[in-house]
C-alpha cells in the first residue's frame, strides 16, 4: 500500500482532546488522517474502510466511573464485532493515554487469549496525583510489536505524560503469571527508566505514576494493538522537546516520530 492511500481513523468522543496533534503527526508522514466523532462511526459502521485506528488522548465522557470506561463500553456495544475484525485482520490499533485506557477497559490489551470479556489489567490513579511531565521509556519489544518496529531495541525515548490515572496494574494474585506471559509473548513494549537508562524501579518521578514493574506501554500477542501512557504526538517535532533550546539548532524531530513512522511503515509493507 502506498503512503498517500493510507487512511487513518482518529476516533473522538466528547472529551477527547489530543486528536488534532495526533492527526498532524500522521499528516506529516503523508497519511490521510480523519478525525471522526465516535457517534458517526457508530452510525455509519465504516470502521473497516480505514487502515489505521487511533484512540487519542483526552478525558472521554469526563472519565467518569473510570478513565475511558464509558467510551470502551459504548464501543463494545455499538461496534464490538467491527473492532474485533479490524484487530483480527492485523490492522494496527494505537491507543494513547485515554486510548490505552480504552483498549484495556475493552479487553483488547493485554488480550492474552484474544479480547477478554472483562479488563485483565487496570490503569489506576497515580500514586503521585495528576502529573504533566517528560519521562524516559525504554523500548523492550523483541520485534513482536509491529507499531514500534522502527524503534531500536533498548532505545530510550523521551516523551511527555499527562494523566491522573496511568498506574498500570495486574490483579495482585495473577500479576506474576501475567508478567511472565507478557515477556513470553513479547508484549512488554515500554518501561519507565531513569536518566542513566536503568529501570525506574517505581521511583517517583522517573516512574511518574507508580506503575507496577514500570510498565508504560504494552501490545497484544499479535503485536498490532499498542497502548501507551506517554504521548508520542507531543514529542513528534524537535521544538516540542523540553531541552531543544540547548542545541545551537533545534532538532527537526523528537522521539515520538519513530512510533508514528513504525505504524505507517507497517501498513505500507503489510497491506
Amino acid at each position: 500500500m502506498r503512503r498517500h492511500e493510507i487512511r487513518a481513523l482518529l476516533m473522538r468522543a466528547p472529551g477527547t482532546n489530543c486528536d488534532a496533534e495526533t492527526a498532524r503527526a500522521f499528516r506529516d508522514l503523508g497519511v490521510r488522517a480523519e478525525v471522526v466523532h465516535t457517534q458517526r462511526v457508530f452510525r455509519e459502521r465504516n470502521l473497516l474502510d480505514y487502515d489505521i485506528l487511533v484512540f487519542p488522548g483526552g478525558f472521554s465522557y469526563g472519565d467518569y466511573v473510570r478513565s475511558a470506561a464509558i467510551w470502551a463500553k459504548e464501543c463494545e456495544y455499538r461496534i464490538g464485532p467491527d473492532l474485533e475484525r479490524f484487530v483480527d485482520e492485523g490492522r494496527p490499533v494505537l491507543g494513547i493515554c485515554n486510548g490505552f485506557q480504552l483498549l484495556v477497559e475493552a479487553g483488547f490489551l493485554p488480550g492474552f487469549e484474544g479480547r477478554s470479556r472483562y479488563p485483565e489489567a487496570a490503569l489506576a490513579n497515580n500514586t503521585t496525583g495528576y502529573q504533566c511531565r517528560w519521562v524516559r521509556v525504554r523500548h523492550l519489544s523483541r520485534g513482536n510489536c509491529a507499531l514500534t518496529r522502527e524503534v531500536p531495541r533498548d532505545a530510550v525515548l523521551a516523551m511527555p505524560i499527562a494523566h491522573g490515572e496511568g498506574r498500570f496494574l495486574f490483579p495482585r494474585d495473577r500479576q506474576d503469571e501475567y508478567l511472565r506471559r507478557l515477556y513470553e509473548n513479547d508484549q512488554l513494549v515500554f518501561r519507565y527508566v531513569k536518566p542513566d537508562g536503568s529501570f525506574a524501579d517505581g521511583e517517583a518521578f522517573h516512574n511518574p505514576n507508580g506503575a507496577w514493574h514500570d510498565i508504560a506501554g504494552i501490545c497484544n500477542p499479535a503485536g498490532n494493538v499498542l497502548g501507551l501512557m506517554p504521548h508520542p504526538e507531543r514529542a513528534y517535532f524537535g521544538w516540542l522537546t523540553p531541552d531543544w533550546t540547548r542545541r545551537e539548532k533545534p532538532p527537526e524531530y523528537g522521539d515520538g516520530r519513530l512510533i508514528f513512522e513504525s505504524v505507517v511503515r507497517y501498513v505500507e509493507r503489510r497491506f
Binding site: 466528547p14 472529551g15 482532546n17 489530543c18 488534532a20 504533566c132 521544538w239 533550546t245
Partner: protein
C-alpha cells in the same frame, strides 16, 4: 410588603409599585428581592417607571440589579472620581483606554469591545485574550469557584469565535502555615483553599484539553481573608470568521448546559464584601462546572464559525441570560423577544426571574440568521450539545420577556444601559513607613538559600505539574524549563501549523509593593510582564489589566486605585504597549480587612520565529553573563526585606523611557542570535535569578558584584537581592561579546560573570567570595518547600 404583589399567573411572578416610594421603602424593596442596588440607583429606577407610568416586575428589577452591578457595569471604573488633583471622568477612559487611543496601533483588531481583546497574528489570523477574576466564589467553594472561573474565561474567548489554545492562572493565597487560631469565623484556611483552587483549575483545564502555560502563585498575609483567583485564556481565530452582524429576525439560540438554581445572584455576590454569613447566604451563587460540556460546545462553535453560520455570539456569564440577551441587543441597536419557558431546565418550577438571571455554567448564546438555523442546530446535535431557540432579535430598543405567553418583563434598553454614574472621592496618603536598618548578614549564601525557599520564590512545580501544559502540541517554551524544571519567564506557543510565527505570554504581579505605593506597584507589574515577555524573544506587546481591590467606597482604597491607574497610563504609554482588555474585581474585603491592592498585568507578545525563542537555562561553559539595567537601593517590599522581617519604604521605581529603549536593544540582540539564555530579575533579585539560571542549565556561574552597574555605596546583600525593575541577566557566547555590547550601546549594562563547568554558584564582592554553593544544594532549597522533583 404592600408594594410587592403577586401576579395572578400560575407561576411565581410579582409586580412592584415604585410610585412615590421613599428611600426607606426603596431599601425595603431591594432587600426583599435580594437586590444589591443602592438607594440612588433605586431612585433612578423609580423615576424611570414614573416616567413610563407603570409598575415594575420582579424580572425587570432583577435585570437592573444584574446589569448595574459593579461586576457587570464597572461603575467605579466608569464613574466620576474627585481627587485632590482634580476630577477624573472615568478611570477606564482616562488612563487605561487612552493608551491604545493615543498609540493607535494598526495591529489591534478589537479592543475593550468584546468579551476578549483581539490583536493581529499574521495578517490572516488574530489572537484573542481575556483574563478574569473569580475571587468571591473561590473563597466560598475553592474547587468549583476556580473551575468555573476558568470555564467562564474560556467561553469569553469562544465568544469572539476564537479557538481557545492556552490558559493562564495567577493565584494569591494567605500563608499556607497560617495559624488556625487566628482565622476568623467564615474564613477558610489558605491550605484548604490552595488545594481546592489548584485542583479545580487542573480538573477543568485538563479535561477540556487546553494547556495551562503561564501563571504565578503568590502568598501574602493580606490574601488570607480574600483569596484571589485570576484565570486567563488565549484563542486564535481567522479574521474573516469574526462575524458581528446580528439583524432583526435572527434567532436567539441558547446552547450548552441546562439552566438551574446554581449561580443565582453571582454578580451581586461578587460586588459585595465577604462576611461571616457569605457561606450560607451566597453558596447558591457558586456555579457547578462541567468541562466536558464545554469541550463539546467548543467543537460545535468551531464548526459554526468555520461555516460563518452565526451572526453573533456571546457567552452566558455574570448576570445570566439577562445580560447576554440585553447586551447583544443593545450592541446592535436592536430589541429582543425571549420566551423563558423554552429554556431547558435542570429541574422544574424555577421562577421566571431565576431562569433569567441564573449563571449556570457552560452556556453560549448565539444569534443565527433564519436561513442557517437548521444547520446550526444540526451541528449542535452532532456534538451532543443541547441547543434551543428561545427567541428572536427584533427592531426597536426594548427586550420583551415572556413566560407561558405572559409578558413578564419589558425592558427599555436605553434606560437599562444608562445607570446613574457613581461619584466618589479619594484620599490617599503614603503610609508612614521607614527604611529598616540592620547589619549585613555574614553568610549571604545562607540568605540566598533561604530566599530560594521563600514561598514566593520557591518552585511552583507542585502547582504547574497539576496542569497539562503540553496538550495540543503547541508549547514551544514551557512553564518549566528542561529536565531540571527551572522557571521560564514566559510561555511561547506556535499556534499555526504552517507558520513559525508564535506568541509569547507572560505576567507581572507585585502585591507587596502595593502596600507601600500602588503607583509603583502598578508600574512594576507592567514592567515585570513586559520584561518577562522580552526575555523569551517577545515584542509588539499588548497588555491586560486585572485589578483586585478593596471596597472603592472607602476613600483610601479608591485613592490607591487611582494612583495605580495613573501608572498604567504613564508606563504603558512610554512602553508603547496598549491595554486591549481588562477586568476589575472590587469589594475584596473580609473580616481580616481589605485584600492587598493587586494589579495583575498580562502581556501578549509576538515571536516572529519560535526557533529563535530564548530560555533561561545557562547553555555553555565559557560564555559571558551580562546584567542589563541598573541596580538601585530600593528594596521596599522585596523578598529580602520580608525575610529579614521588614516591609520598608523604598519601593522599586522605573524610568520607562530608558527601560523601553534597553528592551528594544535586547530584542535586536536576540534577533541577531547573540543571546543563549536570558532571565528576568524579580523576587530575590540578582542572587535568585543567577542561581535559577545555573541549576536549570546544570552549569556553574561566577559572578562579580563589583561589576554590577549600581547606585553608589550599596552593600553586597543589597546588590545581590535588590528588586530594581528593568533588569535581566543575559548569557552571550564569547564570540558574540563585542556584537552584543554594540547592540546594547546606550543602555546601562555590564558583564558581571562567566559560565563555568564546575557546578557551583560563586559570587565575589568587596569582601572576597560571599556566596559559594553547589548547584544541587541551591536547587534542593528551591524545590523542597512546595514539593518538586529533581
Amino acid at each position: 410588603m404592600s408594594r410587592i404583589a403577586r401576579s395572578p399567573h400560575p407561576f411565581e411572578h410579582f409586580t412592584i409599585r415604585l410610585e412615590g416610594a421613599g428611600d426607606d421603602e426603596l431599601r425595603e424593596v431591594a432587600a426583599a428581592l435580594g437586590l444589591g442596588l443602592s438607594v440612588e440607583e433605586m431612585r433612578a429606577i423609580r423615576d424611570h417607571y414614573a416616567a413610563v407610568g407603570r409598575d415594575a416586575s420582579d424580572v425587570e428589577l432583577q435585570t437592573y440589579d444584574q446589569t448595574w452591578s459593579e461586576h457587570c457595569f464597572h461603575k467605579t471604573f466608569k464613574g466620576v472620581i474627585e481627587t485632590p488633583e482634580g476630577v477624573i471622568d472615568g478611570l477606564l477612559r482616562t488612563y487605561i483606554r487612552r493608551v491604545v487611543e493615543e498609540l493607535g496601533p494598526d495591529w489591534c483588531f478589537s479592543v475593550f469591545e468584546d468579551n476578549a481583546g483581539i490583536v493581529d497574528l499574521d495578517g490572516e489570523h488574530a489572537v484573542a485574550i481575556k483574563v478574569e477574576t473569580h475571587n468571591h466564589p473561590s473563597a466560598i467553594e475553592p474547587f468549583g469557584g476556580a473551575a468555573t472561573g476558568l470555564g467562564g474565561v474560556i467561553r469569553d474567548v469562544l465568544g469572539v469565535w476564537a479557538d481557545p489554545i492556552a490558559c493562564m492562572d495567577v493565584l494569591c493565597f494567605g500563608p499556607l502555615d497560617f495559624d488556625y487560631g487566628r482565622l476568623p469565623e467564615g474564613v477558610k484556611h489558605p491550605a484548604y483553599l490552595f488545594r481546592g483552587v489548584v485542583d479545580g483549575i487542573g480538573s477543568y483545564g485538563n479535561s477540556i484539553g487546553i494547556p495551562t502555560v503561564n501563571g504565578a502563585t503568590v502568598f501574602d498575609e493580606d490574601y488570607t481573608g480574600n483569596v484571589v483567583v485570576y484565570a486567563g485564556c488565549v484563542g486564535v481565530l481567522r479574521k474573516d470568521r469574526y462575524v458581528r452582524e446580528v439583524k432583526p429576525g435572527d434567532y436567539i439560540v441558547l446552547a450548552g448546559g441546562r439552566t438551574g438554581l446554581d449561580g443565582i445572584h453571582g454578580v451581586t455576590f461578587a460586588s459585595a464584601e465577604l462576611t461571616e454569613e457569605s457561606e450560607e447566604v451566597s453558596r447558591p451563587a457558586v456555579q457547578i462546572a462541567s468541562p466536558i460540556e464545554e469541550e463539546k460546545i467548543k467543537r460545535a462553535v468551531k464548526r459554526i464559525s468555520a461555516g460563518r453560520l452565526g451572526s453573533g455570539i456571546t457567552d452566558i456569564g455574570g448576570g445570566g441570560l439577562s445580560c447576554g440577551v440585553c447586551e447583544t441587543a443593545d450592541r446592535y441597536g436592536l430589541g429582543a423577544e425571549v420566551h423563558l419557558d423554552r429554556v431547558p431546565l435542570k429541574y422544574p418550577d424555577m421562577a421566571p426571574w431565576e431562569i433569567w438571571v441564573s449563571e449556570s455554567q457552560e452556556r453560549m448564546l448565539l444569534a443565527v440568521p433564519p436561513e442557517n438555523l437548521d444547520r446550526v442546530l444540526q451541528i449542535f446535535e452532532d456534538e451532543q450539545v443541547e441547543a434551543t431557540v428561545i427567541g428572536r432579535y427584533t427592531e426597536g430598543g426594548d427586550a420583551r420577556v415572556y413566560y407561558d405567553g405572559v409578558l413578564v418583563a419589558r425592558l427599555d434598553l436605553g434606560a437599562l444601559f444608562s445607570p446613574p454614574r457613581v461619584r466618589r472621592a479619594t484620599a490617599w496618603r503614603p503610609p508612614e513607613r521607614g527604611e529598616p536598618e540592620f547589619p549585613e548578614p555574614s553568610d549571604l549564601g545562607e540568605v540566598l538559600r533561604r530566599l530560594l525557599a521563600a514561598p514566593n520564590v520557591a518552585s511552583k512545580e507542585r502547582v504547574v505539574r497539576r496542569y497539562d501544559h503540553e496538550v495540543k502540541g503547541q508549547t514551544v517554551v514551557k512553564p518549566l524549563q528542561g529536565w531540571n524544571a527551572g522557571p521560564n519567564d514566559a510561555a511561547v506557543l506556535k499556534p499555526l501549523e504552517d507558520s513559525w510565527r508564535g506568541i509569547s505570554i507572560s505576567c507581572g504581579v507585585n502585591p507587596r509593593y502595593g502596600k507601600i505605593d500602588p503607583y509603583w506597584m502598578a508600574a512594576s507589574a507592567i514592567d515585570e510582564a513586559v520584561r518577562n515577555n522580552v526575555a523569551v524573544g517577545g515584542r509588539r506587546i499588548a497588555l491586560l489589566d486585572n485589578f483586585t481591590w478593596g471596597n472603592p467606597e472607602y476613600e483610601d482604597r479608591l485613592g490607591g486605585l487611582v494612583r495605580a491607574c495613573r501608572a498604567c497610563y504613564d508606563v504603558a504609554r512610554a512602553y508603547g504597549t496598549p491595554f486591549i482588555s481588562g477586568k476589575d474585581s472590587l469589594y475584596n474585603e473580609s473580616p481580616l480587612g481589605p485584600v492587598a491592592p493587586t494589579l495583575l498585568v498580562t502581556a501578549l507578545g509576538i515571536v516572529p520565529d519560535v526557533r529563535r525563542a530564548v530560555t533561561m537555562d545557562l547553555k555553555g561553559e565559557g560564555n559571558a553573563v551580562y546584567l542589563v539595567g541598573a541596580t538601585r537601593w530600593e528594596l521596599g517590599g522585596s523578598e529580602y526585606y520580608r525575610l529579614m522581617g521588614h516591609l520598608g519604604a523604598s519601593v522599586p521605581r522605573l524610568d520607562p523611557a530608558e527601560t523601553a529603549a534597553s528592551y528594544r536593544r535586547l530584542t535586536s540582540a536576540i534577533d541577531a542570535g547573540l543571546v543563549r539564555a536570558c532571565h528576568d530579575l524579580s523576587e530575590g533579585g540578582l542572587g535568585v535569578a543567577a542561581a535559577e539560571m545555573a541549576f536549570t542549565g546544570g552549569l556553574g556561574l561566577e559572578l562579580s558584584l563589583s561589576s554590577v552597574p549600581a547606585e553608589g555605596g550599596m552593600r553586597g546583600d543589597l546588590l545581590l537581592f535588590s528588586e530594581s525593575n528593568g533588569r535581566l541577566l543575559v548569557e552571550v557566547p564569547r564570540r558574540h561579546r563585542s556584537s552584543f555590547e554594540e547592540a546594547m550601546e546606550g543602555s546601562v549594562y555590564a558583564r558581571v560573570g562567566t559560565v563555568t563547568d564546575e557546578p557551583r554558584l560563586r559570587v565575589s564582592g568587596r569582601r572576597g567570595v560571599v556566596v559559594d554553593l553547589p548547584l544541587d544544594e541551591l536547587m534542593a532549597a528551591w524545590k523542597t518547600p512546595l514539593g518538586g522533583s529533581a
